[in-house]
Structure formats: C-alpha cells, structure tokens
Amino acid sequence: MNKFDVNQLDLHYGDTHALKGINLPIPEKKVTALIGPSGCGKSTLLRTLNRMNDLIENVTIKGDVKLEGKDIYQDRNVAALRMKVGMVFQKANPFPMSIYENVAYGLKAQGIRNKKILDETVETALRSAALWDEVSDRLNSPAFGLSGGQQQRLCIARTIAIQPDVILMDEPTSALDPIATHKIEELMDELRKKFTIVIVTHSMAQAKRISDKTAFFWMGELVEHGDTEQVFSAPVDERTRGYVNGDFG
C-alpha cells in the first residue's frame, strides 16, 4: 500500500517553477531516496509532504498530495499532519535545551505533562535512535554538548517520540563524518521496519546502500522512479543514465 500519493504536483516559489507535474507514489515501510543534481527540487518535494513549505512566502502549490488517501492540503490541521510525518534536517538542529527536554519537546507541545509518560517515551525514543547508551547518564546536560552525529540521532529520537508514521530526512548525513554517517545509516536500517522513510541524498552511493526505491529529479521534473536496483543498473531515461554514470552532477 502507498503511504503517500503525489499527483500532478506543481510548485512555484514566486516565479521559479521548482516542481513540474510530479507524480510519485511512496510505498509504506520502505525507504524512498530522492536524488538529483543540486537545485533540482528534492528538498522542495520533501517539504511538501509535511507542508513545511507553508512557512515560506509566495509558494503556490497545484495538484495534490494524499496521505493514506486523504489530501493533506485539504485538511486544516497541519499540526496533526506534522506529528504523523516527522522530519529530520540536513544540519542537526537540536533545541538549545537539555537532551531530555529536546526529546520531550513534541509531547509537551501537545500539553502532555505526565512525568511518567514523558520519562518512558524519552527513553524509548532514545533507545530507538540508538542513542540511549551514550546519553542515559547525562539527560539533563545541554544537547549542544553532543557530537554532530549524536545531535543528528537526537533529532531522530525527538521525531520518533511523537510516534510518527513517516520520517522525512533531508540529507541527514551530509554534514557528518564517515563514521557518524555509518551509524545513522545503520539506524535507518532498523527504522525502516517500523516507519516509512523518505530521504534526500546527494550521494548516489548512499542511495544505493540504504534505499528500496529511488526517484531521480532533474530541474524540477521527476525523470524516473522505481526500485533502486533498477534505477541504478538499468535506467530508462538518458539523463538518469548520465547522472548515475557520473557524466555530470
């Protein structure tokens, strides 16, 4: 079953036509990778999935994005959507608070004050993000004291804590060193069992390593999508072939 169905999606930033008639199904509990050269619209598409583009001025969107069959742009409750569709950003962006507060943030924002629920959820989330062992003894120290890779896992934990179905990731490892990147990729391998994951990456190698499905974008168009295997080994479109062969980009 598809988690998302993107239909004939057009997106403009003012006069810039950033997404052109995108049609993309995103299957449940799979990892879908969005790849393509810089500026092709990967991040833009990702951010339409939890309506993060609402925060930007002058964005006009046509077409529709269905989450479990319901158009997310019809439903007025954006907060509920965003709780269901969590997001992890390129640069780890923990809040300037303690580790504990970071993870509990999303729950507290919903008015949950029950200490027991909070404690449990924080622990579960940190365990699921493979961070618990490293931070359990300093939950009350500032999140900024963590290394880049730990911060990124903290951001994942924070997202998991609000019990989403989908996790969107925008180049989550591009600012990390290889070892930290490896840890995150291992983690994603665990998460895919429970969550639908959509990841933007500039690294074709990473897409190959971690994704089930790959979608290739080119200057606002979705050129090709399908099983990762197939996109990389037997691309249909010439541009895809050029890109995955390293002729450009």
Partner: protein, 280 residues
C-alpha cells in the same frame, strides 16, 4: 608604487579619523569626570535637593529617574515585544497591514523628541488631564521608545535560526508554543538589549520629560506626582551656572549620568554574554 603611496595615504586618513574621534571622546569624558568626580559624594547622591537648606543632593532626581524608567519600560516593553512577535512570527511579510505597521513604527522612530514633548503636553497633560506627572512622562516616553524596542526585538527574533522554528513545527507544535519555548528564549539577549537601550534613551531625554512630567525636585510619592529626572536636573543647573557651587553640582550630575550610562552598557554586555552561555 603609486598604489603603495595611495595605500599609505588611505591608512593615515583612517588613523587620523579614528585618532580625532578618540581625542574628542577622551577630552569630553576627561573634562567632565575630572571636574565632577571630586564632587560626587555619598551625601550628594543620598540627600535631598533644597533651595533653602544646605543640601543640594540628587536623591530625589535618582528616584524620579527610576520611576520614569520603570514605568515607561513596563508600558512599552510588552507592547513592543508583542508587536515584534506579530511582525516576525504572525503577519505575512509584505501584506498591507504589515506595511502600515512598519511605516508607523518607523515614523515614530523619526519623530524628533521635542515633538513628543509637544504631543505629550497637549494630549496626556491637558487633554487627558493627567497633569505634570510621572505617568504623563512615562506614557510619552513609552511611545518614544516603542520603535527602539520593536526594532531591536525584531532583529533578535529574525536572528533566531529558522532551523529551530522548522524543527518545532516539524514536531507538530503550535505557533505560540514554538514562540514561548524556542523563539523567545533564543531571542532573550536581544530583547534584554532592547530594554536596556531604551533605558538609556529614557535617562537621556530632557525636553519631552519636563514638558510632561514637570521638574519638581521633591521625591515623587506616586506616579501622579511630578518629578525631575537627572537629565532635566542637569539642564536646569546648566541654565543657572553662576556660583562655583552650582558649577560643581552640574559637573557632579553629569558625572553621575555618565557613570550610569557606563553601568547600563556594562550590564547589556554582561546579560548578553550570560544569556549566550545559558543558551548552551
């Protein structure tokens, strides 16, 4: 070679300009402090001002100044901060309403302070019947500092990394929760700076103050009493400089004002640095 000479000239101009500034600065500070410091005593600061008696201290002016600062900030800070929040977090940038609000706050910033005096005297003192009082003065000054608070707070809010907001909204938080938990704490040093800058402004004003709050030298007992701030006092003194005693008072009052401004500046820095540390 020619470039070399031009570089030399440019560099000497820069040193010259900076030198001149520093010279003026040191001269002015030295002149006032050297003449004033020796006349600043505990008695001068803590005793009342009398025409008849022996003491001519500035205690009541200090009290009036504190009243004026406290009340003006209490009125302007919440309004200013909420306005800044509206402009940065709520309003659609570029909408007509925002343009109007921005135009108005910017106009407020451009209005010379004497006009505030004129307005305050007509509107608060006479039309609203508040009389010469700390309240009239504080209301007038509150409008006067509003743009400073709005603009500085706005800058602080804009400087809050967008990543925090995105992360917070990404977790399904509401706008007000995001503001309260993430945006305001991060912007706090800027907001504190705004408040302290305004404090400096209030302390420094004279015309709009005595046109609205009067210049009675008594310690005000309520906000409905008139009062004389330190700066107004200095102005009054400079208008009556003929005995050595009055010269000394003027220098001493100027010294107190400079020290006050110095303290305010140091406090701004200290608070900003503390907040920077506190925000991890």
């Amino acid at each position: 070679m020619r470039r070399h000479i031009e570089d030399k000239i440019a560099l000497s101009l820069i040193w010259g300009g900076a030198g001149l500034t520093i010279l003026l600065l040191v001269w002015m500070l030295w002149h006032i402090l050297s003449n004033g410091l020796s006349h600043v005593s505990w008695e001068f600061i803590s005793s009342a001002y009398t025409t008849v008696g022996k003491t001519s201290g500035i205690f009541s002016m200090i009290v009036s100044t504190i009243y004026m600062v406290g009340l003006s900030i209490a009125i302007a800070a919440p309004i200013g901060i909420m306005t800044a929040l509206y402009l940065t977090e709520y309003a659609k940038p570029g909408s007509k309403l925002v343009k109007v609000i921005r135009f108005c706050t910017e106009s407020l910033a451009g209005i010379p302070s004497i006009i505030y005096g004129l307005f305050g005297m007509t509107f608060f003192v006479v039309t609203l019947g508040l009389g010469f009082s700390i309240l009239s003065g504080a209301l007038t000054l509150a409008i006067l500092i509003l743009p400073v608070i709005i603009r500085t707070t706005e800058e602080a809010l804009i400087a809050v990394p967008q990543a925090y907001r995105e992360a917070s909204y990404g977790l399904g938080s509401s706008r007000i929760y995001t503001i309260w938990r993430v945006v305001l704490p991060s912007a706090m040093p800027g907001i504190v700076t705004a408040v302290i800058l305004s404090t400096g402004r209030i302390i420094g004003e004279s015309a709009p103050v005595f046109l609205t709050a009067g210049m009675v030298t008594r310690i005000p007992e309520s906000v409905m009493d008139s009062g004389r701030t330190l700066t107004v006092h200095l102005y009054k003194l400079t208008q009556e400089l003929f005995t050595v005693h009055e010269w000394n008072q003027a220098y001493a009052t100027a010294t107190v004002l400079i020290v006050l401004v110095l303290l305010i500046n140091l406090m701004t820095k200290w608070i900003a640095s503390r907040f920077n540390k506190a925000s991890y």
